[in-house]
Amino acid sequence: MPQPSTAYRLMPEVKIRRESFGGILYKYGCADRGALSFINSPQLIDLLIESQQQYDGNVSAAIAHRRYSESSKQKLYAALDNLIERGYIQQEI
């Protein structure tokens, strides 16, 4: 779970594409063709694209704008923590 003053931010090298099952995250510069993850949650993909297009990659700002319920936020932050581990998102204090 994030600290109150912690912002989740997409790494600038991350590209996102919608697919029928959700979408793909691709981070270039760290492997053969970049790191690649298939995300089977269209809602998460929508949030990340919105973060990139409207909030300069600031995922926390996009979350605040969307007004999720507390239980939804818990799930969302768990997913975002996983993306931090995979190197797509960083935490800014």
Binding site: E13, K15, R17, R18, E19, S20, F21, I24, Y26, Y28, G29, A31, D32, R33, G34, L36, F38, N40
Partner: protein, 373 residues
């Protein structure tokens, strides 16, 4: 085109022709096993349905090459008569960008012989496409290495097929080892992002440590890829492809060198029991495909067989070919063939279809280098 037949029993949304030999081979391979349950992990369940666009496109932008490697997968040498013009190439970059392809991997031939390469790289930069250029390194000059800094993000793969002059030049030609090292030196001096790309052969196997040292000396990563019997590779396959024992030792070596890249090309070795990093399945026609100099589109760079041409950019758009080609539709639904029932199928997915095709003209068989054979 008289050798081709239109296969009319597919869905109307599928277009193009499919060669009878390809059709027969794909049908022999059967249909996929039932879809895995939703709890199963792995990339294949996402890839099998077909993505809206490739993740990476390999684009052999010219067949012209100033050297003549004995194993060249595309049998390059001279420029071909109907190669895409620069205007066509720029339009193709726009189309790939519109489809949100993430990366273009330029190869050939030698990409720096293509007259429009600078404009193409410029357009890729403008459109935000990640670029990787696979080069033999011999045409890199100080001026070119500096000029290339304007393109971003751009990565280079410089080919070395041995850690010594003797081994490398026996495959890539006399004097190429020294010239390639010079190219690496010039690119490294400009702080380009580099990998040393090396095809694993039964001779270069003994020089993996040396290749690793060379890569490190240029601040580069080593990328080892699998030899395929495509192009001129068919002629030297029997002499050069690694032995089963070498493959076993190679997996041990890889686990001791986790920073070495493999282009996900050795997933057939997963059947040995140690899963390698990366995709565990063939990405041809699903995650990637290959565009050849004269506009031919194939499932991957190693599957440049006329029977498996999915379409041609002189007459169709890339989007049409990717999304509606009958050949790709069949390819994506290819079954496990002789591997059906094998306990290791879930980790190797039957290996490389292109290798099967070029060695035995069948897709329903086990990978000719299956480690369980």
């Amino acid at each position: 085109m008289t050798d081709f037949v239109r296969f009319i029993e597919r869905s109307p949304r599928h277009i193009g022709t499919i060669h009878p030999l390809a059709l027969n081979a794909l049908q022999e391979a059967g249909t996929p096993a039932p879809q895995p349950p939703p709890t199963q992990r792995g990339s294949q369940r996402f890839l099998q349905g077909g993505l809206s666009a490739p993740i990476t496109v390999t684009w052999e932008i010219t067949a012209a090459c100033n050297i003549a490697c004995v194993h060249c997968l595309s049998a390059s040498g001279r420029r071909r008569p109907n190669e895409l013009t620069t205007t066509q190439a720029l339009a193709l970059v726009d189309e790939l960008a519109d489809m949100q392809v993430f990366q273009i991997h330029f190869g050939g031939g030698e990409p720096f012989i293509y007259p429009g390469i600078w404009k193409v790289l410029e357009r890729c930069t403008e459109r935000g496409l990640v670029m990787c250029v696979s080069t033999n390194g011999t045409l890199i000059t100080t001026e070119r290495a500096r000029r290339l800094k304007q393109f971003n993000p751009l990565y280079f793969q410089v080919s070395l097929d041995g850690g010594t002059e003797r081994t490398n030049d026996s495959i890539r030609g006399k004097g190429v080892f020294t010239r390639a090292l010079r190219g690496l030196e010039l690119l490294a001096a400009e702080q380009h992002s580099l990998t040393v790309n090396s095809v694993l052969t039964r001779h270069s196997f003994y020089e993996l440590d040396r290749l690793y040292e060379i890569a490190v000396s240029f601040g580069a990563k080593l990328r080892v890829t699998r030899l395929r019997p495509s192009g001129r590779g068919r002629d030297v396959w029997e002499d050069l492809h690694p032995t089963q024992e070498q493959y076993r030792e190679f997996t041990v070596w890889l686990s001791a060198h986790p920073d070495v890249l493999t282009a996900d090309s050795f997933f057939h070795l997963n059947a040995l029991g140690h899963k390698l990093a990366g995709l565990d399945t063939c990405g041809a026609a699903t995650a990637t495909c290959c565009i050849c100099p004269e506009g031919e589109v194939y499932p991957c760079a190693f599957f440049q067989a006329p029977e498996f041409e999915a379409g041609n950019l002189h007459t169709q758009s890339f989007r049409e070919i990717w999304q509606q080609s009958t050949l790709f539709d069949y390819y994506r639904k290819m079954g496990s063939g002789a591997c059906s029932g094998c306990g290791q199928y879930n980790v190797c997915h039957g290996g490389c279809p292109a290798t099967k095709w070029f060695v035995h003209q069948k897709l329903s068989i086990r990978d000719p280098e299956c480690v369980l054979a």
